[in-house]
């Protein structure tokens, strides 16, 4: 490792959210690697369950194109983690296709490693039976059937598969679901940077420019790591880091800001010190990494719960609003009777919920306000049924019933709901739920991932 340390670069906090080309070019000068995380559980279980990705292909391709161009020019490894939002096989395949298209378009040649981290249900059942699953905080109770009925399971990889891929000559590493820090820690640890420094730097870098005082837009970030700490500084002159902005960063999206669990151990930032080295760069020292007795990868799983159709409408009539609870319960009762009669659906076959915006749509049962304060509410009739056809049929019946449900004060036919558009119901697709919060104990970090090395040669990918 050079005495000045090694330079680590984050292209952006989430692949597909963008960055300024100038920022990445500045950051890439003298860099040891460029990485971008592509995944998150934030947008919910739909992506893991369905195989879909949250950002569009165009947005992801835009970021990939620049990363490939700048990274290959600079001759440094490019690492992408948790591809396609959820990091399962279809997600990795989708991003791999984008990479191949860009390579063909730009005439690029390079060695590509893909790291698959999706796990088969039977393998996880076997692990559970042999006592290799650890329940994490607030984990649901599970059994064999829970595991077998999941739509998809992934294990969050640590840095080791990335390190192996680079050691085998990969210039671009495309990984499925992995820990946010793993792709950022891989090269520094291989270069002799202590784990405490590498992990804390990784935690800050993985969000791109988020650790600045006022992030104007998603952008790149860079840090120089050495044996006693790291110095972080945004490549974009319009942004700056301060000791407080960097210290604040371990709070974001973390349950505990001081002890952060990773596959091989825990990052301990309790003794970290943050010092300004200029008006925009911060030096961080003092973090430690506590190795764990067991190597574990956190599992994420999504299970199909049904299909959703939603109806959005407004209610403005003050007489309906003043008796809203009884209007909803009596309409729902009429809907249930008709659903049984016309569609053969029993109450237990579906869920139908009225989400009332203007009352407690956002907080549900946790809403402390008991009164509706405004002159209108937005109602979302949320139906989840075993098939899309059933959900669509029930929604159609439901909105029609509620629309004409009698209001005691009015004598004659009424229309109670203001639909913004035709058709009133939106067919919503499959509904999933996260169903595992467990860690899988591994004898070797490589046991839960699969690396494939290929030569991408301008147009035709050839598997080696």
């Amino acid at each position: 490792m050079p005495e000045a340390g090694i330079k680590a670069v984050s292209a952006t906090g989430q692949l597909g959210t963008g960055f300024k080309e100038a920022s990445l070019r500045t950051a890439a000068a003298g860099a040891a690697y460029i990485a971008a995380d592509a995944g998150s559980t934030d947008p919910g279980p739909y992506y893991l369950g369905s195989g879909q990705s949250q950002p569009s292909d165009q947005a992801v391709a835009r970021d990939l194109r620049l990363m490939l161009e700048i990274g290959l020019e600079a001759g440094v490894p490019l690492l992408i983690g948790s591809a396609g939002t959820a990091g399962g096989r279809p997600h990795v395949a989708r991003v791999r296709r984008l990479i191949e298209e860009i390579a063909a378009e730009r005439g690029l040649s390079f060695t590509l490693a893909t790291i698959e981290t999706e796990l088969d249900q039977e393998a996880v059942v076997t692990a559970w039976k042999s006592g290799r699953l650890r329940s994490l905080y607030n984990a649901p109770e599970i059994d064999e059937e829970t595991i077998r009925s999941t739509a998809r399971i992934v294990g969050m990889a640590g840095p080791e598969p990335f390190q192996r891929a680079i050691a085998e000559g990969a210039q671009v590493v495309l990984a499925g679901r992995s820990s946010d820090t793993s792709l950022y820690v891989a090269v520094p640890v291989m270069s002799g940077i202590p784990m405490g420094v590498a992990y804390h730097a990784a935690k800050v870098l993985e969000c791109g420019a988020a650790s600045v005082v006022q992030r104007l837009y998603p952008d790149s970030m860079m840090a120089t790591l050495d044996t006693s700490g790291f110095t972080i500084e945004p490549p974009n002159p319009a942004m700056r880091c301060t000791p407080q902005s960097v210290a604040s960063h371990t709070l974001y999206e973390n349950g505990d800001p001081f002890l952060l669990t990773e596959p091989g151990g825990t990052l301990d930032t309790r003794l970290a010190r943050y010092e300004a080295v200029s008006d925009r760069a911060v030096r961080v020292t003092g973090s430690q990494f506590i190795p764990a007795a067991e190597y574990t990868v956190r599992l994420e799983a999504a299970t199909l719960r049904g299909y959703r159709t939603a109806v959005i409408c407004g209610i403005r009539d003050p007489l309906v609003l003043r008796q809203l609870d009884s209007f909803i319960s009596s309409s729902t009762h009429s809907i249930a009777v008709k659903a049984q009669d016309s569609l053969g659906l029993r109450r237990e076959d579906y869920t139908l919920a009225w989400r009332i915006y203007g009352h407690n749509g956002s907080l549900g049962k946790l809403e402390p306000e008991t009164q509706i304060g405004g002159h209108e509410i937005g109602a979302l009739i949320d139906i989840v049924a075993p098939t899309q056809t059933a959900a669509d049929a029930l929604a159609s019946l439901a909105w029609h019933t509620a629309l004409h449900h009698p209001v005691p004060e009015y004598h004659g036919l009424v229309s109670n709901l203001a639909f913004p558009f035709s058709p009133p119901a939106l067919s919503g697709g499959p509904v999933y739920e996260f169903t595992l919060n467990h860690a899988l104990v591994l004898d070797d970090p490589a046991d839960a991932s699969e690396i494939t090395i290929s030569q991408i040669d301008k147009a035709l990918p050839v598997r080696v």
């Binding site: 279980p45 000791p243 349950g255 989400r355 956002s362 809403e367």
Partner: protein
């Protein structure tokens, strides 16, 4: 008396993974941080009551370098579950934005 939003620079909630919810109250100056540190905003019972979870399941942290108070609770249902009302968990802090802080 001030309301919390008048003296804090940021009040937020967010998922910390799909199974936990974390709250951050962040300040620009040590004086306001210190004052709020001494209110029930830095105690487990406050969050246990507001979010209807057992006190033992609440974790509260004081972060002097960040000038922030953090609290973490188990999510009532996992993020994006069919009955969830806020997939990102970004609006759960709302009930205490106007918390009254004594001068």
């Amino acid at each position: 008396m001030s309301e919390l939003w008048e003296i804090a620079k940021l009040i937020r909630s967010k998922n910390a993974g799909p199974w936990e919810l974390t709250f951050d109250i962040m300040f620009d100056d040590a004086a306001h941080y210190e004052k709020c540190r001494q209110t029930e905003l830095a105690t487990s019972p406050f969050y246990a009551r507001l979010y209807k979870v057992p006190e033992s399941s609440v974790r509260v942290f004081e972060c002097p370098d960040a000038l922030a108070i953090k609290a973490t609770i188990p999510r009532p249902q996992s993020a994006g579950a069919p009955s969830d009302t806020d997939v990102f968990g970004g609006q759960f802090h709302s009930p205490f934005v106007r918390f009254t802080v004594p001068d």
